[in-house]
């Protein structure tokens, strides 16, 4: 164990201010309006987990409706009141459930919960900074997110229920309050919540980018950053560029709804009454929405990719295969993700020529994704794999990413999309590739960095149970859905009972619902493990996973400013695992090459001629010595 945390108090602290006040923080400034990135990360995580549990319960509610469309459950009326009259969820509330489930999962859990948690926790710790570039803005970011969550959930309390036009809220459905109950106050609250959410996301993103660019410790050049940082950095850039467009779209929608403009509306006769809108285009909203919406799915998956890469490398005791290729593929995905949004709109009436163009760009983005997958497989090859729960979840992420990614090749093909668009095939595709894969990446991160966050270890056995039940459950839920889609069963249908051709899928629906309930129950194992481990978990050591990255050189007890003395200097890339000639099977980033002469390779000195000279000298003396013997 060789940490280079030098306890030299003569050196001026970069963060004198924070250090002075760190002992007499009030409860309010330590736990509530905290400006410490580690505390903010925990706030994001716990809020994210809470939202995830809520969204999961919503999904179980609509799954019950899908499995038993003819049965009555008086309990539902007791729980949901007017939203489930006569023991059955109403058709409108079913759509609300679907909508809010999607919104919470995509934005509140997999964007804020994932990026918010791990960018806040890992960026300063892994690049060697004492905190974020702007701790105050960081705090605001969390509280905007919290307010957005409260407003989103409060829409369950309005008379007509929450927004129900689908998480994509296409106008005119979402623009005309009379088109459906959810398009009334529920929709207004949705839009307010989203504006606050984007504000939060932007404040976070600007912070992440500026921290990564400006506050790296000595020696930490971009090519020595762990892949988690690369992924979170590029994710933040995506968010900064894409989210404002959503706000633009949302603001125009607010104008259409409340101030009588016609940005998205034209030629509408609702319930036999002509509406005074002319000249707008609903397609415009779809363009604005998906200009965010598609980068959004990469905002969701890229942090999961980064986390999985890191976790798999640590637990295979092997360097990540093709580090440069991994970074370039992330950059490629980032750039390409801005020019593929039209593949959500092949059959919306958009110019078919545009459809052809978007199809080409879409299938190009599969190349970097394929490279990443192969590199992960190569990382496992001839590794020395330790199955920690984090490792299992990272592997699950890869498995889901393959399964869900491959069906993307069908949907990205405009000709095939004609028949698959908006069917259960799409539901299966994105729940695997960005839903399950991203949540597994997030859980991998939680299990892996729990010791860093709370100073305690989580229970491994419960982690195993949680993983296998969730992993199997997710496949049982989503695999059969592909075939429903291939039979032309549309998504967002309240009941399959009205179609003779769909009734044969009812048994499959029942099966899926029970698989989902099983997977949901498995989350109790996680929640129990998570909560109890915070309080009574085994105390963590400084570097429990024998990992190379900088965060494990900080003391287990948190302190404002992260390192008690000087910030350590970085000398090497983060993936020197199982290097031949080294004593241990890992060499932390803080160990200079001069201390590891026996394991140095010419490759380590590609841009360092002096070092190479030293190495050559060392190897020649070694050879000379051997000859003497």
């Amino acid at each position: 164990m060789s940490t280079l945390a030098v306890h030299d108090h003569g050196v001026a602290h970069h963060d004198d201010h924070g250090h002075e006040h760190h002992h007499n923080q009030s409860f309010l400034s330590k736990y509530v309006f905290s400006m410490d990135h580690k505390m903010i990360a925990k706030q994001f995580l716990i809020t994210g987990i809470t939202m995830a549990v809520i969204a999961m319960i919503l999904s179980i509610l609509f799954r019950i409706q899908l499995a038993y469309p003819d049965k009555t459950f008086p309990l539902l009326t007791t729980l949901l009141g007017r939203f489930a009259p006569n023991g059955r969820i109403s058709a409108d509330f079913y759509l609300s459930l679907v909508t809010i489930h999607g919104t919470i999962m995509v934005f509140f859990v997999l964007t804020a919960g994932l990026s918010g948690t791990f960018a806040n926790l890992l960026i300063p710790l892994q690049i060697g900074a004492r905190d974020m570039a702007s701790p105050f803005m960081n705090m605001l970011s969390y509280w905007f997110f919290f307010m957005a969550s409260v407003v989103m959930l409060s829409s369950f309390l309005v008379q007509k229920g929450p927004a129900s036009g689908g998480w994509t809220i296409y106008p005119p459905l979402s623009a005309l309050p009379k088109a459906m109950p959810g398009s009334g106050e529920g929709m207004t609250l949705w839009l307010i919540s989203m504006v606050m959410f984007v504000a939060s996301s932007l404040m976070g993103g600007i912070n992440y980018v500026s921290t990564v660019l400006n506050m790296r410790t000595k020696g930490m050049d971009l090519w020595k950053m762990p892949l988690t940082i690369w992924a979170l950095f590029l994710t933040a850039i995506l968010g900064i560029l894409a989210f404002p467009v959503l706000v633009a779209g949302v603001v125009l929608l607010i104008f259409d709804r409340s101030f009588g403009t016609s940005f998205y509306l034209s030629d509408i006769v609702l319930n036999g009454v002509q509406q005074p809108y002319e000249g707008g285009s609903p397609i415009l909203f779809q363009h604005l929405f998906w200009f965010l919406g598609h980068p959004e799915v990469y905002i969701v998956i890229m942090p999961a990719m980064g986390i999985s890469s890191e976790v798999m490398s640590v637990n295979s005791r092997k360097p990540i295969f093709g580090y440069h290729a991994m970074v370039y593929s992330l950059i490629g995905i980032t750039v390409l993700s801005f020019i593929v949004w039209g593949h959500h709109m092949f059959v919306t009436g958009m110019n078919p020529f545009l459809g052809g163009v978007f199809m080409i760009t879409t299938l190009i983005i599969a190349v970097p994704s394929a490279v990443k997958t192969f590199n992960w497989l190569a990382t496992l090859w001839r590794g020395n794999i330790r199955f920690t729960p984090a490792m299992l979840f990272a592997i699950g992420m890869v498995s889901f990413f393959i399964s869900g990614g491959l069906t993307g090749i069908f949907l990205g093909n405009a000709a095939l999309d004609i028949n698959l668009h908006d069917t259960y095939f799409v539901v299966a595709h994105f729940h695997l590739v960005m839903g399950s894969a991203a949540i597994f990446g997030m859980l991998a991160g939680v299990y892996h960095w729990f010791p860093k966050m709370f100073g305690k270890m989580m229970d491994e056995k419960l982690g195993y149970l949680h993983f296998w039940l969730t992993f199997i459950g997710a496949y049982l839920v989503f695999f059969p859905m592909h075939f429903m889609g291939l039979d032309g069963v549309p998504r967002r249908y309240y009941a399959f009972t009205e179609f003779v051709s769909m009734q044969r899928w009812l048994t499959v629906n029942t099966f899926i619902t029970w698989a989902a309930i099983m997977a949901a129950c498995a989350q109790v194992a996680f929640l129990y493990n998570f909560i109890t481990s915070i309080f009574i978990g085994k105390k963590a050591t400084q570097n429990p996973w024998e990992s190379n990255t900088l965060e494990w050189t900080t003391p287990v007890e948190h302190l404002h400013g992260n390192w008690p003395g000087e910030i350590p200097t970085v000398y090497r890339w983060p993936y020197d695992y199982s290097k031949p000639g080294a004593e241990e099977d890992y060499i932390p980033q803080t160990v200079p090459f001069s201390q590891t002469m026996s394991s140095n390779l010419p490759h380590d000195f590609e841009d360092n001629p002096k070092g190479l000279e030293e190495l050559n000298k060392f190897t020649s003396t070694l050879k000379a010595n051997e000859q003497v013997k």
Binding site: I268, K318, Y323, I402, F479, Y494
Partner: protein, 410 residues
Amino acid sequence: MHQNTEYQTDIKMGFRKFINSKTLLSFITAFMLLGTNLLMAQTEAAASSGTQSDAMQVDWTGVAYYVLLFFLVCLGVAVVGKILKIYDLTLKIQGKKGMKWNTVMAVICLVFLLAGIYGAYWSFTVQGSMTLPEAASAHGVKIDEMFTVTTVLTMIVFFITQILLFTFLFQYRHSDKRRAHFLPHNNTIEKIWTIAPAIVLTVLVVFGFFTWQKITNSADAKGEKASIDIDITGHQFAWELRYPGKDGKLGPKDFRLVSAANKLGVNFKKRSSFDDLQADTMYLPVNESVRLNIQALDVIHSVYMPHFRVQLNAVPGLPTFFKFTPTITTADMRRKLDDPKFEYLVYCNKICGGGHYNMQKVVRVVSQAEYQSWLSKQKPYLTDQLRKELHFAAADQPQTGSQNRLALNN
């Protein structure tokens, strides 16, 4: 030390006894039986209760049963956990290494792989056979060919990568005796697996692009026989059909003209409007090119006819069309599927409100002769009521020059 081991063995035996104990087993059985009885009673009650007040009685025993069952499962997990922990500790006291969890997980990975392959195979054969029958349109056949090619290619990749993933996990499970192979990169192999998918995808893109162009670049070419124009308009929550009359032309529409009798807002200033027909079922002549003019009155709907591989959104303010040629009559399809009740359908595939899940219309593909005889029986769009209405309202009809406006910024 010897005594200690003996003591541990005693504990182990004790637990074995505990697990094997018949009392426990019978208790569980009794509990399950009770629960099943309760459950049955609940479903029976739900089934027999015709009246609402009965149905609204929350069956708290049933709820309690499920909650109890859940806690029992948790208890079971906890007991198993404790047993494993004690077993682990006994191993350690005996001087052995504890449970080899890495090996256990590696074996489970292998079992999952085998079970997964079987499950995928089962799903492909059983659920795969429940998918749509062969395409009933000319362009649909091409889509299906593309689908087959894509499926074969992706499934090869799917099985190879998943098998590699899980066998690697098993094969390279942790061992204290060896070290991982230090392999940071290999440019040759990385180039190969960048270029290989790029080539495969290029092939798919090129085929897909041309198929897509062929399907969508479908304005009637010169000299080609004109397609049959059929108007389909979506509104909450139904489809309206309009067929052209003898002139083969549909009259223009304007949303400002919509009224109770003129549901679609057909403009009767134009001659071509007068002989338009309305229909309840979409009849299509087999092997004739059909042009569906797709519109919506209120919100976005989507015309989805999966058997013909046809889908296009119906967008208010943005008229679109989809041209296709049905190739299999309803009667033929019934014979092929051995299902005398089979019907082609058109239904809505874009969320449009509470009734979205039931917006269907029957489509019948028939021979040319049947089609003509059916068409001759259809009622004119210009009903008596509409005639009356127009007579009185004729003077008010606005002089619009902007019929069929396209939304500008699509």
